[in-house]
């Protein structure tokens, strides 16, 4: 199994979720994160004190998938999350050793 982690722009969540569902994914987990990268942030000014804010709001999506689905998932995310503008984000794929569904105790692919 693989665990696919994608950092995306927040307003792309619904499109990515739909693309993943279409690709046969039944579950995923989303975290609000702050990203630092090439995309430049903004400046905030409070009573004359200027702060350069370089961390931008992003969403992190984690999907555990059977290895054979990994490519499809990566492609689905890539095309759904792309705007072509800097800051679209990254996808990271790692290997996953085990998966368990807490409710039933089902294992691995059955658990996804």
């Amino acid at each position: 199994m693989k665990i696919v982690v994608a950092i995306i722009k927040p307003f792309k969540l619904d499109e990515v979720r739909d693309a993943l569902t279409a690709a046969g994914v039944h579950g995923l987990t989303v975290t609000e994160v702050k990203g630092y990268g090439r995309q430049k942030g903004h400046t905030e000014i409070y009573r004359g004190a200027e702060y350069a804010v370089s961390f931008l709001p992003k969403l992190k999506i984690e999907v555990a998938v059977p290895s054979e689905l990994a490519d499809a998932v990566v492609n689905a995310i890539t095309s759904a999350a792309r705007t072509g503008q800097i800051g679209d984000g990254k996808i990271f794929v790692s290997s996953l050793e085990r998966a368990i569904r807490i409710r039933t105790g089902e294992k691995d692919s059955d658990a996804l």
Partner: protein, 494 residues
């Protein structure tokens, strides 16, 4: 302010009671009857008192609280809430007496103890206003002034927010109101009242021969001398430019310097955690300030309405001024700038509110917006002191501007009301001839004395607090936030 005690008298519907007076006793009464409160004045002062309490809690608490980091939110709210409670009790026990009774040989600087524990004050005793023959129940005068005593030290804590121990703040405030606020309120606002002066002036006019004249003149002088030092200088302060804002502003700056900078300042970003709270606070301050300024007229008439109009217009002007200056200087107009501008206008118009005309107040507001912006956004950064919430830059600077401008804008030629003279036509107030020199000098002296008294006095008190309970928490605790360290709570558990 001298109070008139009248016999217990059941208030009756005006038509009936007045009729009885008119028919039963004739003209003679007009000379001797002690004035009774007009219920319209009482109604307004009840409300004004509520409005000024609302300025402190939740107004000021939110205005300040929104500007700190969320880990220090409760510490701001707790400090302001308990300052109100603590000072209310001290004011009741001895503060009112120290501010608003005669202080004997110390009368220049402070009152005496004749009204401690509200001795002699009851539901039938009255307090003078600024009009001859107009009084209000002393209890409402007491309560209205109490709200001023409560909010002034609460203003100070913004200057050293996010780093000062709760216990230190409480001890500081107890000492500060006793040695700084009560005396300065006495110096600026204590006087014998219009009727005392009017009666003495009438007696002088009626005095038959030389000896009687001399005695009556001496009596009049004595009554006029029964006033605080700054009042006798002829300085005017309608609603507390010196007593409240300069006083609190300089104490704040001194505190910020003695207590030192926040851990991480100015390297770490210390952004306001909720400008929403700050905006709510600023709005409630504005609404409440109608009670503060227009309530300071102590009655409900055209001058009260003027004070409200001035408060409205100066504030709007100052917000616009700050907005445009910031827009020009930084490229964007911020909400924090707008509300800061509004507060600077409120501060500046405070001493002028019942003296200036609306156009004068508009100009004053515009000037306040620009000047306070300059102090907050330029001067503070230049000098590097950590006045966390700009108590000096807004309250002290705005207060000084307002105090001086009041001496100018009171001029009837500029649309001002002029300064009242209670002797020229005893029994009523007439507008005195305006003279620029004496007016501005009196104002400047008032400003200076306040700066020195409060600046030096506050420094001493901060040192005392430091040597006793200590001013600051450990660095780790400050990092974790004062809410947990001082109060064992967190503001938000979402």
């Amino acid at each position: 302010m001298r109070m008139n005690n009248k016999l217990k008298r059941t208030m009756m519907g005006a038509s009936v009671s007045l009729l009885g007076l008119a028919v039963g006793t004739g003209l003679a009464l007009a000379q001797t009857a002690a004035p009774t409160p007009n219920k319209g004045d009482t109604a307004w002062m009840l409300m004004a008192t509520g409005l000024v309490l609302m300025m402190s809690i939740p107004g000021l608490a939110l205005f300040y609280g929104g500007l700190v980091r969320s880990k220090n939110m409760l510490s701001i709210l707790a400090q302001i809430f308990m300052i109100v409670c603590l000072v209310a009790v001290l004011w009741t026990v001895y503060g009112y007496s120290l501010a608003f009774t005669s202080g004997g040989s110390l009368n220049d600087y402070v009152g005496g103890f004749s009204k401690i524990f509200l001795n002699g004050v009851n539901a039938d005793s009255n307090a003078a206003t600024f009009s001859n023959g107009v009084v209000i129940p002393e209890y409402i005068y007491f309560a209205f002034q109490m709200t001023f005593a409560c909010i002034t030290p609460a203003l100070i804590v913004g200057a050293f927010a996010e780093r000062t121990k709760f216990s230190a703040v409480m001890l500081f405030v107890a000492l500060w109101v006793t040695f700084i606020y009560f005396p300065i309120a006495h110096m600026v606002w204590y006087w014998a009242g219009p009727d005392a002066i009017g009666d003495a002036a009438k007696a002088l006019a009626a005095a038959a021969d030389g000896a009687a004249k001399t005695a009556a003149a001496a009596k009049l002088e004595e009554i006029k001398a029964d006033a605080g030092l700054i009042f006798r200088w002829g300085a005017i302060d309608f609603a507390g430019g010196t007593v409240v804002h300069i006083n609190a502003g300089i104490a704040g700056l001194v505190g910020a310097l003695i207590i030192g900078k926040r851990v991480g300042y100015p390297r770490e970003a210390m952004m306001p955690h909720s400008l929403v709270m700050t905006m709510i606070g600023a709005s409630l301050l504005w609404v409440g300030w109608f009670g503060f300024n227009a309530g300071s007229n102590l009655e409900a008439n055209g001058t009260t309405a003027l004070a409200l109009v001035n408060t409205f217009v100066a504030t709007a002007g100052a917000a616009l001024a700050w907005l445009f200056v910031e827009w020009a200087a930084k490229g964007k107009p911020s909400l924090l700038g707008m509300v800061s501008g509004a507060v600077s206008g409120l501060v500046a118009v405070t001493p002028a509110s019942g003296f200036a005309g609306p156009m004068g107040s508009l100009v004053l507001g515009l000037a306040a917006g620009v000047l306070c912006y300059f102090f907050v956004a330029v001067v503070k950064n230049k000098f590097g002191y950590d006045d966390s919430l700009d108590v000096f830059g807004i309250h002290c600077v705005g207060g000084i501007l307002g105090a001086l401008a009041t001496g100018i804008l009171v001029n009837p030629a500029l649309g001002g009301t002029g300064i009242l003279d209670y002797e020229a036509k005893p029994g009523s107030a007439v507008v005195a001839v305006y003279e620029f020199g004496p007016a501005i000098i009196a104002q400047a002296k008032a400003v200076l004395l306040t700066l020195v008294w409060s600046g030096v006095g506050s420094a001493i008190i901060f040192k005392i607090v430091d040597f006793t309970v200590g001013l600051r928490l450990a660095v780790d605790q400050e990092r974790e936030g004062l809410d947990l360290a001082d109060h064992g709570e967190r503001a938000y558990n979402h």
